[in-house]
């Protein structure tokens, strides 16, 4: 089933969605990779707030290529998803702390994230890896940027206004489902069979 979601996405809406569904997001998404996750969580521990309110919005695992235009405004050149598995070690803490509505990335995520998605009502949307120009096409405006000097272009927080950002295949839902885990289990079984037959 296809869903068209607007941020902030309510937990009720998120609970309707199941693995294998396709979603499109309109509203705000923010890029964050390894460094940005760590920094946001550190700030929280110090009792400070990060510059963006993540609640109900899209958290995009992405290190984009950006360029300033002739009016000195940032524009998106390419912005596809990065491998989400790297964020597995702190994604659950991030979800519990900041309550994003949808994590957008590629490659899928593991058990810890799946558990946090179930407990906190969050989903994971799989964007086609490397499809950076399709993604750029759906980004309508660069609203803001934070931590650019400190973390550099790929690692900082880019705040985007998006329209029908997708298609995103839901591979983790709020019910404990994890589509890429199922796929990985199948790969593992196939591997055993192949090794026996070699």
């Amino acid at each position: 089933m296809d869903y068209y979601l607007t941020t902030p996405i309510s937990p009720e809406k998120l609970k309707e969605i199941k693995i294998g569904d396709i979603v499109y997001v309109t509203g705000t998404i923010v890029t964050a990779r390894d460094e940005a996750h760590l920094k946001a969580l550190e700030l929280h521990k110090e009792g400070k707030k990060p510059p963006v309110d993540f609640e109900g919005i899209g958290l995009f695992h992405c290190g984009p290529v950006m360029k300033k235009n002739e009016n000195d405004e940032w524009t998106v050149v390419a912005a596809g998803p990065t491998t989400s598995a790297r964020m597995e070690i702190f994604q659950d803490e991030f979800i519990k702390t900041f309550h994003p509505g949808i994590i957008i990335g590629k490659g899928g995520m593991g058990e810890r994230t799946t558990k946090a998605c179930q407990e906190e009502a969050c989903i994971y949307g799989y964007f086609t890896g490397g499809a950076a120009l399709l993604a750029a096409d759906r980004i309508k405006k660069v609203k803001d940027v934070f931590w650019l000097e400190e973390l550099g272009m790929p690692e900082c927080l880019w705040v985007y206004e998006v329209e029908n950002f997708g298609p995103l295949t839901v591979t983790i839902d709020t019910h404990g489902g994890n589509l890429t885990d199922e796929s990985k289990k199948k790969i593992e079984e196939n591997k055993k069979k192949i090794l026996q037959e070699l």
Binding site: V65, A78, T83, G107, T128, G129, A131, A132, L134, E188
Partner: protein
């Protein structure tokens, strides 16, 4: 007389642009073909997105993926080509130039001082060069930018020599199963066997440069490549790891002699965006672009 250092710089910068924005024809055609052959909706929609993205990249001359890779060059210098160390200088300049002109994402990160912002490392080594000497008077340059996601699933193992070729196959299967959905399949796989612990990885990377479906000139190795292609697709990783569509587009292998006590095997995996581009420059500075 042309300024040959300048020709090298401009040519290499252009090669980085071609590699980032335009897939080699046979890779592009194979991906389109895969979309048509894939039945399942999940796999087909992923391949459709890939192909649409490739089309936009080529039409708009923009990088097809935001990860424009860590830059490396395979360079063959002819005996009578007029420049030597200046080739290296020109290629470093080309990398900086392409970073701002294409643009490429700044991907060279110093462990202590952070991102260098121009894809050139502060301590040498990046871009990385594979230099070779050849007869003749020309210079061959192949640019190979490689994304981090697919490099992260590369693997190397010192297989016990007693396990022989079966041990090699087992390790390749294990490496691809471990990569699973992580690195943007369908993959192209380079396997290097023999040499030392470093050489097998170099050979594996070099194997990626051979065009798809062009197999090794040694028939025994060619048969092994085809067998592994068939075997690895039985993993059913599928497009983007969702279990539908092709897992592996092709497998290429290179073999070096090994130490009697060692059987090093390197596996280098490319995401669907198998990016490289080459050109040959003669001693007068005329550029011959390789078929892309």
């Amino acid at each position: 007389m042309k300024n040959i250092a300048q020709v090298i710089e401009d040519t290499a910068a252009q090669l980085l642009k071609i590699a980032a924005t335009k897939l080699p024809t046979e890779v592009k055609e194979t991906l389109v073909d895969s979309e048509e052959k894939t039945v399942g909706v999940l796999g087909r929609s992923q391949l459709q997105a890939i192909n649409e993205n490739v089309r936009i990249a080529e039409l708009s001359s923009k990088p097809m993926c935001q990860d424009t890779g860590l830059v490396s060059f395979f360079v063959k210098i002819g005996d009578k080509f007029p420049l030597r160390s200046e080739v290296k200088t020109a290629l470093i300049k080309a990398t900086k130039k392409a970073t701002s002109d294409v643009p490429l994402r700044p991907n060279a990160v110093d462990m202590f001082k952070g991102n260098t912002k121009n894809n050139v490392g502060l301590r040498g080594y990046v871009p990385w060069f594979y230099f070779d000497l050849a007869e003749g008077d020309s210079l061959e340059i192949i640019a190979l930018p490689k994304g981090g996601g697919s490099s992260n699933v590369g693997k190397m193992k010192m297989v016990p020599p007693g396990k022989g070729i079966k041990g090699v196959k087992e390790f390749v299967v294990e490496a691809l199963a471990a990569a699973g959905p992580l690195a943007c399949p369908p993959y192209t796989v380079g396997v290097g066997v023999g040499g030392g612990e470093d050489m097998c990885m170099n050979l594996a990377k070099k194997a990626l440069l051979r065009p798809l479906f062009v197999y090794h000139e040694d028939e025994t190795i060619a048969d092994l490549e085809k067998e592994l292609l068939h075997t690895l697709n039985k993993l059913e990783i599928g497009a983007m790891g969702l279990g539908e569509g092709p897992s592996i587009l092709d497998v290429h292998m290179e073999f070096a002699a090994r130490h009697p006590a060692s059987l090093p095997v390197g596996v280098v995996i490319s995401c669907w965006a198998l990016r490289h581009a080459g050109a040959t420059i003669d001693n007068e500075g005329n550029v011959n672009w390789h078929i892309h």
